[in-house]
Symmetry: C2
Subunit: 233 residues, 2 copies
DNA sequence: ACTTTTAGTGGACAAGTGTACACAATGCAG
DNA sequence: CTGCATTGTGTACACTTGTCCACTAAAAGT
């Protein structure tokens, strides 16, 4: 407020490209903000986004041809965000006591911290424009892949084939993404509900991993005539 | 086409309530149709729906106060649809050879048969209006509950506590609903991709049920100090 | 020092939206 | 048979929307 011309070289003298990127990010953030206010991305309009970003509607076209293209840019951020999540998750270490629970806590915290992006993923993953859907699914697929690699790196489930490992990670990711909306819809400051949800989520993941530790890749075709198992499957 | 006044008592002489229900269903179907054409429910407008239903925009208000209320009516249909699904699934019988695979095939067929409704569920379950989201989640929760009861009735997993059984069914349902959009997005007539997806889905469910059959409800607190398990969890 | 590029502005237009009001037709209760 | 309630119509109004065009200012290239 006091000295503006003194050290203000940060706000003032920017190369053109930097400025452009600045308002571009402004647009992305504006879209996310609107999503955070309950609007669904698919129903967002150019004018709406531009208004929220504080620019005139026409300027939108200097950055994106239409809202779908902006959506794709958001999907790219989703990719980065998921990669960071994996990096954070790796830091819970491979020491295994309570590992699942700690991972779940990290995940929940991460989802809340990146609320808007996860709102975006969750809703556009199944709804809205086909292009966005596929792009997100692609990003999620990458995420699943990397998770499987991490498992390998940790030396877990070494007996499993790569395809089985990916199938398992796919299930884990499905559970994670399925839990995201419930995390985000939690009524603020309800520690009871949250703890309950957490516990349920933890148990679900434990169940998956328990199944994984029992899983055996069928050599050729073994299940086609599974003779008399106790009472399951 | 030919004889109109002869047997046309079906189209012509209807009690008022019946007629009302007819156009009401017309509105519901219209919304679903639009969803089927790629539009997302949240972005549907009153005029749009009314136009598709073949009535004047204002007549919409004779049936619903706004689009959200129509959405709630759709959620009710979702409930009925899910209940029917359970009924069909029960008919695969408890004879267990290939039971999972057959259930998956039933499910896939059912999703394709009720394409529009599942499109609606999938996208509104995580996105759009909070009221709709919660309503759908409620319906899904009912579904999970009934599925758990069915397991009980079949005498499967008798060793498990009710809460564990529900946790497991929750996971199954999450996997099912997560698979729905992928089923619906399948490029038409690509038997390779479809078979691959089916197989993956089957294995995921088998993994869950395998985990379930190994699962033991922890007596008091056993996992808090799980001493030295091989290399999993 | 000049020209060129380009991010952002401003105004305009046709089209679409939600909703309010007055009205028409008709099944139904008295 | 008559009057009422209710389903659906038509018109109208104030807004919002996407996009076109002409324009400014200033950074970047020469």
């Amino acid at each position: 407020m006091a000295s503006a011309t003194h050290v203000a070289k940060r706000e003032d003298s920017l190369t053109r490209g930097e400025r452009k990127n600045l308002t571009r990010n402004g647009l992305l953030q504006a879209a996310l903000n609107l999503i955070g206010e309950g609007r669904s991305f698919t129903s967002l309009g150019i004018r709406e986004i531009a208004r929220e970003a504080g620019i005139v509607p026409n300027a939108f076209y200097r950055h994106f041809r239409n809202t779908d293209e902006l959506g794709l840019a958001l999907v790219e951020e989703v990719g980065i965000t998921l990669r960071r999540l994996l990096r954070e998750a790796r830091q819970v270490g491979e020491e295994e006591s309570e590992m699942v629970r700690r991972s779940v806590l990290v995940y929940q915290h991460y989802v809340k911290q990146n609320r808007l992006l996860f709102l975006f993923i969750s809703s556009e993953r199944a709804g809205g424009s086909r292009i966005l859907r596929l792009a997100i699914r692609n990003e999620v697929s990458h995420f699943t892949h990397e998770m499987a690699q991490d498992f390998r790196r940790l030396g877990a489930y070494e007996g499993l084939s790569t395809s089985s490992l990916q199938m398992i990670c796919g299930l884990v990711v499905t559970a994670m993404l399925g839990a995201a909306p419930e995390i985000l819809d939690l009524p603020a400051e309800q520690p009871l509900l949250e703890a309950e949800m957490t516990e349920d989520f933890v148990r679900q993941l434990q169940l998956i991993l328990l199944g994984a530790s029992c899983w055996r890749d069928q050599p050729p075709a073994l299940l086609t005539s599974s003779r008399k198992r106790p009472k399951q499957l």
